[in-house]
């Protein structure tokens, strides 16, 4: 076997350097880096050869920093394209923190995609958590700050669980093979604790049901440009790792089905349109998780392909909503409407994104989602297939119709904002082009897939007719309910999610802890500061005087103070003791007694 080629530059190099330079430069120069660095990075990824590795030694442990395979290259391209689009979209930004950490965030995502073993995965994984939170904090509001901390809480927990999982794996397996980036499905299904913890760590980042609230909470509070970065990297890294570490794990079928199913109900009644997109994002990741869970070559391809198209069309939808927020300062469906009159281009791009996520034929969602659907059917998962079909119909409702309808049409809100800035329009235009291009030329995507898409042809007459029918009749249902005035209107509200438990439990924890520890603190304060220490300080302050009084009589008898009465000696000594001024002779005497005492005790 040929020795694996060594990579001269890690694929994330361009983005890391770009992130540092963007943090140093100011104004348009920093923005230019946001565009140039991803382009250089794209070129760097294109030079990667399958099988090449990059190793380094850290604390005497050899770490495979990067290992190139087809999946890593695909995600490498994807993350650089996403960084390019997001950089272009944020071109007007003049906040060096957001720009710099945005590029570094993309770099850590590339690092995860190329990670060659679990240790390097852990290092990049932590980087992902830390660099991403600035897209939320950049909003600089109290709500965003709090939300950022909740976001960080989840992601730091994810990192710790990953580390714990790796340590347990090392104990169970031993040796360097414990860190190998291989399928852990067998270990997981054999009940291995390490594998379970690693799955849980990835599960937090993939927004598994119950662990998903950081997503709907954080992204909705982020800056107008923030979710464009956020939606591209974190969850896709998780999907990438699921496909590497847990292909064919049966539990993922259940988890993925749930993820595709439950968020759509929330999406229908949510008022914050970016939060609607968050719920629809969980639904889409559900499809990918199911693809990984099915575990056949084509299904894995489907999951990876869906991650690829999803980053582009979900980014496009977040960009259109970000433009609305940027221009109007408002993102609640109840307050928007009629914006198509003054933002026609944004409206058009949003509709292209909506058509892509709904998987209309000729748009990108169609060519990737169908891989997963058809594999679910071929493997005989009838119930799961019906759930996914239900979810697919649900996507049309909340992402395909609701988002463009309530933002740009619906009632006239009276708002007439300016069209989005040119850089935003260019970024949305680029994504829209990719959505349609990949939808019409799926072979470009399929040839990048780990298993080349298994010779699948999405434009089969049966499939096109069935899918179009599903979509049109879903829209028909919406139209009918809307005309009958049964459709739930957008109202100012929030909906309780699982975070109800976290937040209530958090408050209960805080409250009980504060009662217990603060109570204990007060008791301890009263005992030590008020009681013991008061007595002790009184003793040290008054003690010498009292001692001097006791000693004055014997010292007088011994003839130390000739020519003085008892009272005079006592008064003299007390004054000396309380002010701390003694004649040298007395001090020397005490010193000698003290040393003798020590000598005696030391024996």
């Amino acid at each position: 076997m040929l020795a694996a080629a060594e990579i001269s530059f890690h694929p994330a190099t361009a983005l890391i350097l770009g992130g540092i330079v963007a943090g140093i430069l100011r104004g348009r120069y920093a923005s230019a880096v946001m565009v140039i660095a991803p382009i250089l990075g794209l070129w760097l990824v294109s030079t990667m050869e399958v099988g090449a590795t990059s190793t380094m030694v850290l604390f005497g442990q050899e770490i495979i920093n990067a290992e190139v395979d087809r999946q890593a290259i695909l995600f490498g391209y994807l993350f650089h394209i996403a960084a390019l689009v997001a950089g272009l979209y944020a071109f007007h930004l003049r906040d060096p923190w957001q720009l710099s950490t945005g590029l570094l965030y993309a770099a850590t995502a590339v690092g995860v995609a190329f990670a060659g073993d679990l240790i390097s995965l852990f290092l990049w994984w932590e980087g992902l958590a830390i660099t991403s939170v600035f897209q939320i904090w950049g909003r600089k509001t109290k709500r965003a700050e709090q939300s950022g901390f909740r976001y960080l809480f989840f992601h730091v927990s994810s990192g710790l669980l990953l580390l714990a999982g790796i340590v347990f794996r090392y104990h169970a397996v031993g040796g360097p093979e414990a860190f190998a980036m291989v399928s852990l499905t067998e270990a997981l299904e054999g009940g291995d604790l390490g594998a379970t913890l690693i799955l849980l760590a990835i599960g937090i980042k993939a927004a598994f049901p119950g662990l998903h609230v950081w997503l709907t909470d954080g992204y909705a509070e982020a800056t107008p440009t923030g979710p464009v970065f956020l939606c591209a990297f974190t969850t896709k890294c998780a999907v990438c790792m699921l496909a590497r570490l847990f292909p064919g794990a049966d539990v993922l079928l259940l988890v993925g089905g749930l993820m595709a199913f439950f968020p759509i109900f929330y999406a229908v009644i949510e008022n914050d349109l970016r939060r609607v997109l968050c719920y629809s994002k969980i639904n889409q990741i559900g499809f990918m998780v199911v693809g990984v869970g099915i575990g056949t070559e084509l299904a894995i391809d489907g999951a990876v392909a869906h991650a690829f198209t999803h980053v582009i069309y979900k980014g496009l939808l977040f960009m259109s909503m970000g433009a609305v927020l940027f221009r109007t300062g408002e993102i609640r469906g109840s307050e928007l409407g009629g914006l198509y009159k003054s933002m026609p281009w944004t409206t058009g791009f949003c509709i292209i994104g909506a058509a892509s996520i709904s998987a209309f034929p000729l748009f990108s969602g169609f060519v990737s989602k169908s891989l997963i659907m058809v594999e679910a059917a071929r493997e005989g998962h009838l119930f799961l297939w019906l759930v996914l079909l239900f979810a697919a119909a649900g996507v049309v409702e909340h992402a395909g119709i609701k988002i463009p309808y309530f933002a740009f049409f619906s009632k006239d809100s009276g708002l007439r904002p300016k069209e989005a800035p040119l850089n935003m329009l260019l970024a949305m235009g680029l994504s829209s082009f990719l959505c349609i291009f990949l939808g019409c030329n799926p072979q470009w995507l399929y040839q990048l897939l780990p298993n080349y898409g298994g010779g699948y042809h999405p434009y089969d007459a049966t499939h096109v007719v069935n899918q179009t029918l599903l979509l049109f009749f879903s829209i028909l249902a919406v139209a009918c309910l809307k005309l009958k005035k049964i459709y739930p209107p957008e109202v100012r509200s929030v909906n309780l999610d699982i975070d109800f438990i976290y937040r209530k439990a958090g408050r209960l924890f805080l409250c009980s802890m504060s009662t217990f520890w603060n109570g204990l603190n007060e008791k301890a304060h009263a005992f030590f500061v008020g009681g013991v220490s008061g007595k002790f300080s009184a003793f040290t302050a008054d003690g010498p005087g009292i001692m001097a009084k006791w000693l004055s009589q014997p010292l007088q008898r011994l003839g130390f103070y000739p020519g003085k009465s008892d009272e005079e000696t006592e008064a003299d000594l007390e004054q000396q003791a309380t002010t701390g001024i003694h004649p040298i002779g007395l001090t020397a005497l005490f010193g000698i007694l003290f040393l003798l005492g020590f000598l005696f005790l030391a024996r």
Binding site: R143, I264, F265, Y266, V268, I269, N271, R327, G329, Y340, K341, S342, M373, V374, A377, R378, E379, G380, L382, L389, F390, A393, G394, V396, E397, D412, G414, L415, R416, P417, K418, D460, T462, H463, V465, N466, T468, L469, L470, F472, F473, S474, I475, L476, A477, V478, A479, L481, L483, I486, Y487, P488, V491, R492, S493, V494, N495, L496, D497, R503
Partner: protein
Amino acid sequence: MPTKKKSKNEPKRWLDHPANVKKFLNAFFGLCALLLLIDLVFGFGWHKHAAFHDGMGGLVEGPETWPVFYAIYGFVSCAALILISKALRSVKGHRILMRDEDYWEKD
């Protein structure tokens, strides 16, 4: 940034006329009917490729080959989705998931 408001002498757009909205909807309903017709012809007169193989239990061919299955499934799922979601907000005045906008800010 102050957003410009609607001015009084703004020209009316095509979609501002209710008659045009009606036209648009009618075109959409017509398209749905046409698609249904295509599916019927395709489903009965031709044959649809089955994706489910033998793992289908008693069924010889999977639901994806049944004519109009997708139309009914799409319509029913979407209607059910909306009705259930609406109920999740509140049932007969009892709020289930919906809360005031400042729910988490209140202390």
